[in-house]
């Protein structure tokens, strides 16, 4: 039985864009903690307070549409979010989640079923989301993406696996 990630849910609608997740004016930082303070700032302090006490962001379709800013993913990590679950993702946001080590799960049924403020748990290995007393299946990641996630993101993955290999090749 693999470890589950999840917790309390904050739920949003469709097409939540990157500029709402993290406004352009804060991109001068790449520190997730600092960025986390400004995540979802355009939606006001009430939403932000709920974000900071949640562990899972749930949204409708096209989550993270807009800019290629990687901070849209890392700010959520800084805000204490452990995973994002949506009906669908914009492609750059999805990549940025994986590459910063934030599991992004496409599971329309779970996103639909779970209530704002409810609980949601994810079994990444098994491809199962549990919410509202029900289980929902999602397609597990292909091996190449899983390795990046497991390493905690693309840069740690490179540092741990790819670069040492390159250096070893050079030496031999």
């Amino acid at each position: 039985m693999s470890e589950k990630i999840g917790g309390k849910v904050i739920k949003f609608g469709n097409s939540v864009d990157t500029d709402v997740i993290i406004p352009g004016r804060y991109l001068v930082s790449i520190d997730p903690q600092e960025l986390g303070k400004h995540a979802f700032e355009p939606l006001g302090p009430e939403v932000q307070k709920r974000l900071w006490s949640s562990q899972v962001v749930v949204a409708g379709s096209n989550l993270g549409c807009g800019s290629a800013r990687e901070q849209a993913a890392s700010c959520l990590i800084g805000a204490g979010i452990k995973a994002v679950v949506a009906k669908s993702f914009s492609r750059v946001f999805f990549r940025n989640c994986i590459n910063t080590g934030l599991p992004a799960i496409e599971c329309a049924e779970a996103a639909e079923a779970v209530a704002d403020g409810g609980e949601l748990w994810i079994d990444l290995e098994g491809g199962i989301v549990e919410a509202q007393g029900k289980s929902f299946r999602f397609a597990p990641y292909p091996q190449s993406l899983k390795q990046i996630l497991d390493a905690g993101g693309l840069i740690s993955y490179l540092a741990k696996y790819v670069l040492p290999q390159q250096q070893a090749l050079k030496r031999s």
Binding site: P23, R95, P142, I155
Partner: protein, 419 residues
Amino acid sequence: MGKTFAEKALARAAGVAEVRPGEIVDVYPDLYMSHMASWRCIRTMEKLGTDKIYDVDRIAMVMDHISPAQTAKTADDQRLCREFAARNGIKKFYDVNAGIAHVVLTEEGFIRPGMVIIGTDSHTTIYGALGAFGTGVGFSELTAAWVTGKLWMKVPLSVKVVIEGPLARGVSSKDVMLKLIGDLTADGATYCSVEFHGSYSEGLSVSDRMTLCNLAMELGAKNGFVRPDEITRSYLAERGVAPDRYSEIHPDADAVYAKSATIDGRTLAPQIACPHTVDNVKPIDQVVGTKVNQVFIGSCANAKYEDLAEAAKILKGRKIASGVRLLVSPASKEIVARIVKDGIYSILLEAGALITNPGCSACAGDGGVMADGEVTLSTANRNFQGRMGSYKAEIYLGSPAVAAATAIKGFIADPREFL
């Protein structure tokens, strides 16, 4: 079974005979573009503890999102990029005077048919205007490509968009795209390669092709594509790029598309994207009369020479409404030089425009921001809440001609009455 453009372009860059949609392949891009995010890539490289670059000649850096620097922090970030470029012999480095990366690199002849290009910017789709495969990535991925030369890509399904022309009077490539985004919605082509076909895209100027492929992003597209032709070849030839320095990739006639959409440009009216999403699109007669405080003619979507000329045609000999600010930010240094030379610069100035240095400018919230409750009509490609200053301000998107007419009237106006 025939192949789409994306299938052929990615197979080439992955060094394999063929790929299928849905397959994940390691791709070696021909060019890695980074803008303001460059400093983040450099810091990430430091974190990685390596200074080995796979191929320095594939790196292009343009200081466009904040230019010139407004704070000591940004000045420091830009210095980091400058010094990194000098130290590593990065020849394609463009400083704060150059303009918007996408337009600058296109003008410099670095974008060529058949190339695969990644950029730290979602509108990297714009390179499809010259028949290249351009797609946006985050800064970690770009850094990884600097070091390893490659990145993973999922081979996309393709969407065929057929645009029939010629366009109705007063209607532009921007209106075509807004109509398409309104019809298909902001995730109408998520993860897909969008190919533009039809009588309109054939024979179209490179500038208009850039607008099409740029805005394809707002459909969620992975990339955009217009088939290279004589116009592409002569554009490149003018920039010193001979045909033997690229190889065109064309989709097969029997390629398989996930879906198709048709826009009839012959009967189209000007279109407006209303706050706060790009797919909230209405024909102009439904929003005419909306009061604006500011008009912004700028961005990689619509601040090219042809766009400024279009606006100038309407603004010539006229004045903007009192109390309205008209901000014009040409996309590149080359464009500034051209409009100065042929008088467009003076036409805009005399009409009452504030003309900034080339760069992303107000599109990136770099100047030209709004106060609470204000409204801007912009020629850019995004109207998200808070993108231009206050979270309580509104952005409408339209063509350069709509922008010019709106600046004169002080409210959203139909350009056809000025033509």
